[in-house]
């Protein structure tokens, strides 16, 4: 079957703060082939139809986490979603939901970055070792406790899938809490006590109502809903065990 001559309609929610009071939609007709991603469709628009269109991208292979956007209302990586899925009906793209729109398809992610830094997303060694003592050893079972949560690429699709974050952005949110769990669940890490303050806070795990859509949209199978809900148990244990724990 010939692929020549196929054209798809892409509706883009545009917002140019210097001229638009509110976002407006703009329609583009984009010639495409079956191997073209939505990101490539946007690149075609920028190169041939309207050079003012703004969007983030980098790796084109679902590892940098830059090109997340709402595609027909669902949070997706535009590099990992293909135009052919939407032919002939066409598609609509919009900046990631629940974040402010900075410009066109670029979401303002300052809040996410602040939260990401707040959870100390690095190993805080349980015991300090000198170089000659060798590496920190870990069994395959210990690795398995946190491995899936370490796959997060900070693409923020889970935030765009989380109505609790959309309704109140004080919520720490699925992605950052999953990363927090990634370090707390690491047998080499000793930073749990510092991070539990954030877990136990009202903006921590207790703002989650187990909608579960975050895990559904995650392109890396991190399962943030699992990390958040596991930490509800951890938080409850933290609360009750203080009565019996030796000081």
């Amino acid at each position: 079957m010939s692929e020549a001559g196929k054209v798809i309609e892409i509706e883009v929610l545009r917002y140019r703060p210097e001229q638009d009071a509110a976002p407006v939609t703009q329609m583009f007709r984009v010639p495409f082939t079956d191997d073209m991603s939505v990101l490539q469709g946007l690149q075609y628009i920028k190169d041939h139809l309207d050079g003012t269109l703004s969007f983030r991208w980098s790796c084109r292979m679902a590892i940098c986490g830059s090109c997340g956007m709402m595609i027909d209302g669902k949070p997706k990586l535009s590099c990992k979603t293909f135009l052919r899925e939407f032919y002939p009906a066409g598609l609509r793209v919009e900046a990631l939901a629940h974040f402010p729109i900075e410009r066109d398809l670029v979401a303002g992610v300052d809040d996410f970055i602040v939260k990401l830094e707040s959870i100390k997303p690095y190993l805080i060694p349980k015991e300090s070792r000198r170089l000659e003592q060798g590496e920190y050893l870990q069994t395959p079972h210990e690795l398995e406790q946190y491995e899936q949560f370490s796959s997060c690429i900070n693409c923020m699709l889970c935030y765009a899938a989380c109505p609790q974050y959309g309704l109140d952005s004080k919520f720490t949110g699925p992605g950052v809490l999953a990363l927090l769990h990634r370090y707390n669940a690491d047998s080499r890490d000793g930073g749990r006590d510092e991070r539990m303050q954030l877990v136990n806070a009202e903006e921590g795990v207790w703002s989650c109502t187990a909608v579960g859509y975050c895990s559904e949209v995650c392109p890396k199978a991190v399962d943030p809903a699992n990390a958040v809900n596991l930490n509800k148990v951890e938080s409850a244990k933290d609360y009750f065990l203080r009565f019996v724990r030796k000081q």
Partner: protein, 132 residues
């Protein structure tokens, strides 16, 4: 001077935006009906404590056609509630390993549903055997 003027979109009607959110809202709403049914049973227990006349009055209320229709509706809601509860269960559990292999989310959900069906069948069997 910064030209930044971030635009915040409204959350009005958020739960209608995606079928996933609609299912979530139904799941949450079924909890209210489950609670309502618990109150119906609690009323029965209170009537039982008040003596035979009150108990028979409660039984008569339960046998009215409108009450039977409500019970059928509440049963349907309860079944959906049970299903949705076990559907989300794998998200609330730590990774489970059997024989060194991780138990899949689907297996956890199916085990939970099977347990619920078995418990319901056992309750029904006991009620059937104890019927007057």
């Amino acid at each position: 001077m910064s030209g930044r003027r971030p635009y915040v979109r409204s959350m009005n009607g958020w739960w209608r935006r995606d079928p996933f959110f609609v299912r979530y809202m139904i799941r949450e709403a079924t909890a209210l009906i489950v609670a309502a049914y618990a109150l119906v049973l609690l009323a029965g227990v209170l009537c039982l404590a008040q003596g035979e006349a009150a108990w028979n009055g409660w039984l008569a209320q339960m046998q009215r056609p409108v009450s039977i229709v409500l019970h059928v509706l509440m049963l349907a809601v309860m079944i959906y509630h049970t299903y949705s509860w076990f559907e989300i269960m794998p998200k609330t559990m730590p990774a489970l390993f059997v024989g060194g292999k991780r138990v899949s989310a689907a297996a956890i959900t199916m085990t939970g549903l099977a347990a619920a069906v078995a418990a319901a069948a056992a309750t029904f069997a006991v009620a059937w055997m104890l019927r007057p």
